[in-house]
C-alpha cells in the first residue's frame, strides 16, 4: 500500500478521460475510505486533442497547499503531455505508461509499469475505456481501496449505459498490474 500522502498526476490529451480518471479515484478515496483529497486540473480550450493534466493529492490528514512541488506517481496517456510533465516526477517515483502511446523516458531513477491501455480498451470493444484500464492499474498499485469500492465509484461517475464496459476495463487494468507486481 502507498504512503499516507501521495501526489498523483494524470496526463494525456483532451478526450481521453484524464480528468475523469482522477475524479473517480479521488471521489472513491474520499467517500468510501475517508481520505482527504484535492484535485486540480488544466486543459487546453480544445474539446479534444489539447494537452490535459489532472493532479490528485490523497492524504489521511487535511491537505493545505493544493498542488505538490513533485509528484509521486505519474500516469501518462500520451507522449506530448508526458514530455511536459515527466520532470515533475520525483526521483524514485512511479511511472505508469502506455508503451504504445508514450516513449519510455531516458531517466533511470524511476519505477516504470507499462500498461497497454489503448490496446486493452480496443480489445474490449471500447477504445475510450483506456482511462479506466489506467485507473484499474493505478488502484491495484496503490492498494487503498477494495476492487468493489472502485467499481462502485466508477458506477457513480459514468453514464449508466457505459458502467459495465468501464468496470470491465478497470478489471483488465487490475489484472495487468497484478501480473507486473508479481
Amino acid at each position: 500500500m502507498i504512503a499516507e500522502r501521495q501526489a498523483i498526476q494524470f496526463c494525456g490529451f483532451g478526450g481521453q478521460g484524464v480528468i475523469l480518471a482522477a475524479l473517480i479515484f479521488g471521489s472513491t478515496a474520499v467517500t468510501k475510505q475517508g481520505y482527504h483529497a484535492v484535485q486540480t486540473q488544466s486543459f487546453g480550450s480544445e474539446t479534444r486533442g489539447g494537452e490535459c493534466q489532472a493532479e490528485l493529492i490523497l492524504s489521511k490528514e487535511p491537505i493545505f497547499s493544493p498542488t505538490a512541488d513533485k509528484v509521486d506517481i505519474l500516469v501518462a496517456m500520451s507522449d506530448l503531455a508526458f514530455s511536459r510533465y515527466v520532470g515533475r516526477l520525483k526521483s524514485g517515483g512511479i511511472l505508469i505508461m502506455d508503451p504504445d502511446m508514450v516513449t519510455r523516458p531516458s531517466r533511470n531513477d524511476l519505477k516504470i509499469y507499462e500498461i497497454k491501455a489503448n490496446h486493452i480498451g480496443k480489445e474490449l470493444g471500447f477504445a475510450l475505456s483506456s482511462n479506466m484500464v489506467f485507473l484499474g492499474a493505478l488502484h491495484r498499485f496503490c492498494g487503498i481501496l477494495s476492487d468493489q469500492q472502485l467499481f462502485d465509484g466508477i458506477r457513480e461517475n459514468v453514464a449508466e449505459r457505459y458502467a459495465e464496459v468501464n468496470i470491465k476495463a478497470a478489471q483488465a487494468g487490475i489484472d495487468t498490474m497484478s501480473g507486473l507486481l508479481k
Partner: protein, 381 residues
C-alpha cells in the same frame, strides 16, 4: 427526467468548488439565481440551472450582468433569497446594481470568482474592486473562503449576513478553489443555522420603510402587498420619498454604514494558527492561506517562531485581530496573489507596531509553500 434531490445534500462528497458554493446557497435557503456566463464562474450557473427546478426555485440567465444584478434586487424585494455569480470583468458591470442594493438595503449575495484579466488563471487582484467597485459612501461585507468546504460554509454565512444586515455580501472566490475538487462534508439540514430577514408587523399605512435607530436595520415589507415603498437609488428619506435634504441624506448614509461598523464583532472572523508565541506572523486570505499553513509547519520544524493569521472576512478589515498580531510579533508578512493590494490595509493597521513586508506573486498561480518558507527565511535573516 428531472432529478428530485433534496435541498440539502447531507453527506460526504468529493465536489468542485463552484458546485459546493451552489450547495451552500441552497442550504442557506437561496431560491432565486440570475447570472450571465463567464469563466471561471460558469459551473455555478450550470449547477443552479439544474438544482433550482429541483427545489422549486427560479433560475434566470440574464442577457448581461446588469440585467442579472437588477433581477436579483427585484427578486430579493419580492421576498426571495438571491445569488448571482460572476468573475472579475463581469463584476465591473454589476457595480451599479450593487450601489443600488446598498442604498436601498436589499439583501443579496454575489459570488465573484476572480480570474486574471482576459484569462482564467488564479489571482486575488480584485480584493479592492469588491470593496470599492460601487459608488457612494458604503460598507460591504466580503468573505474569503480558502477551500471547497469553506465555499460551502462561507456562502451560507454570506446569506445569513445579507439577511441580517440587509446589505449585499460578496463571496470572494478564486479560480484556485472554484475549479478544485475536494472533500466536502454537508451536515444534516437541521444543524445548519439560517437567518432570515425581519419582516414588519406594521400595517401598510403605518409602515416606514427606512426608519431605524443608528446602527440598526429596518424591517422589510413584502413587495406587492400594499406597502407601496419606493426603492430608488436617489437620496430618499425614511419614507422612501426622493428628496434632497442634506441632514437626512447624511443620517441615512451614516446609518447604513454604521449598521455594519457597529457590529464588527458579529461580522468579522479570523482564524489563528501557531500565533501564540510567534515572532513572525503571516497574514493572508483565501487560497493563499493554504501554502502559508504548510510554510508555518516547515518553519516551526526548523525552530522558527512563525504563525498565521487567516482573514475569513476581508471587508470590513479585521483591524482588531491584525493589530493584536502586530503587537505580538515583530514582523508581519502580508501574503497575497496580486501585485500587492490588501497589504496597504495591513500596513495601515499594523505598521506602527511591527515591520510589515509584502510577499506577492502575480503569475496566475498560487504561492508554493517553498516560496513562503523562503520569504520567512529572508525576513528572519
Amino acid at each position: 427526467m428531472l432529478l428530485r434531490r433534496p435541498r440539502v445534500l447531507s453527506g460526504t462528497h468529493f465536489m468542485l468548488g463552484n458546485f459546493a458554493a451552489v450547495e451552500g446557497a441552497l442550504a442557506a435557503g437561496c431560491n432565486f439565481f440570475a447570472g450571465y456566463p463567464i469563466t471561471p464562474a460558469n459551473e455555478v450557473s450550470e449547477r443552479m440551472a439544474e438544482r433550482m427546478p429541483e427545489v422549486g426555485g427560479k433560475f434566470l440567465q440574464g442577457e448581461d450582468e446588469l440585467c442579472s444584478i437588477y433581477a436579483l434586487a427585484g427578486a430579493a424585494l419580492a421576498g426571495a433569497k438571491v445569488l448571482t455569480a460572476t468573475a472579475s470583468a463581469g463584476f465591473d458591470y454589476m457595480a451599479e446594481g450593487i450601489e443600488y442594493a446598498i442604498s436601498d438595503e436589499i439583501p443579496m449575495v454575489i459570488m465573484d470568482v476572480q480570474r486574471t484579466r482576459g484569462e482564467n488563471f488564479a489571482t486575488q487582484a480584485d480584493v479592492m474592486q469588491m470593496r470599492w467597485g460601487a459608488a457612494g459612501d458604503h460598507e460591504l461585507i466580503v468573505l474569503a473562503p480558502s477551500s471547497v468546504q469553506e465555499l460551502f460554509d462561507f456562502t451560507i454565512r454570506a446569506f445569513n449576513l445579507a439577511e441580517k444586515y440587509r446589505n449585499p455580501v460578496i463571496v470572494m472566490s478564486e479560480t484556485t478553489i472554484a475549479l478544485m475538487r475536494e472533500r466536502l462534508v454537508i451536515p444534516p439540514a437541521d444543524q445548519i443555522k439560517i437567518i432570515n430577514r425581519k419582516m414588519t408587523q406594521a400595517q401598510p399605512g403605518d409602515y416606514v420603510p427606512f426608519r431605524a435607530e443608528m446602527g440598526c436595520v429596518p424591517d422589510m415589507a413584502p413587495l406587492g402587498k400594499g406597502y407601496n415603498t419606493l426603492y430608488s437609488i436617489n437620496p430618499h428619506n425614511e419614507f422612501g420619498s426622493i428628496k434632497w435634504e442634506p441632514e437626512i441624506f447624511e443620517r441615512q448614509y451614516e446609518r447604513i454604514t454604521q449598521k455594519i461598523l457597529m457590529n464588527l464583532d458579529d461580522i468579522v472572523t479570523t482564524d489563528e494558527y501557531q500565533t501564540e508565541d510567534a515572532e513572525l506572523i503571516l497574514i493572508a486570505y483565501g487560497s493563499e492561506t493554504r501554502p502559508c499553513k504548510d510554510a508555518v509547519d516547515v518553519a516551526r520544524g526548523q525552530g522558527k517562531k512563525v504563525g498565521l493569521l487567516k482573514l475569513n472576512t476581508v471587508w470590513p478589515v479585521p483591524e482588531k485581530q491584525i493589530l493584536a498580531a502586530a503587537r505580538k510579533a515583530n514582523k508581519i508578512l502580508a501574503v497575497e496573489m496580486n501585485m500587492g493590494k490588501y497589504a496597504g490595509e495591513i500596513e495601515r493597521v499594523a505598521g506602527c507596531h511591527a515591520e510589515v513586508k509584502r510577499v506577492t506573486k502575480n503569475l496566475g498561480a498560487i504561492h508554493t509553500s517553498g516560496e513562503i518558507v523562503a520569504a520567512i527565511e529572508e525576513s528572519l535573516r
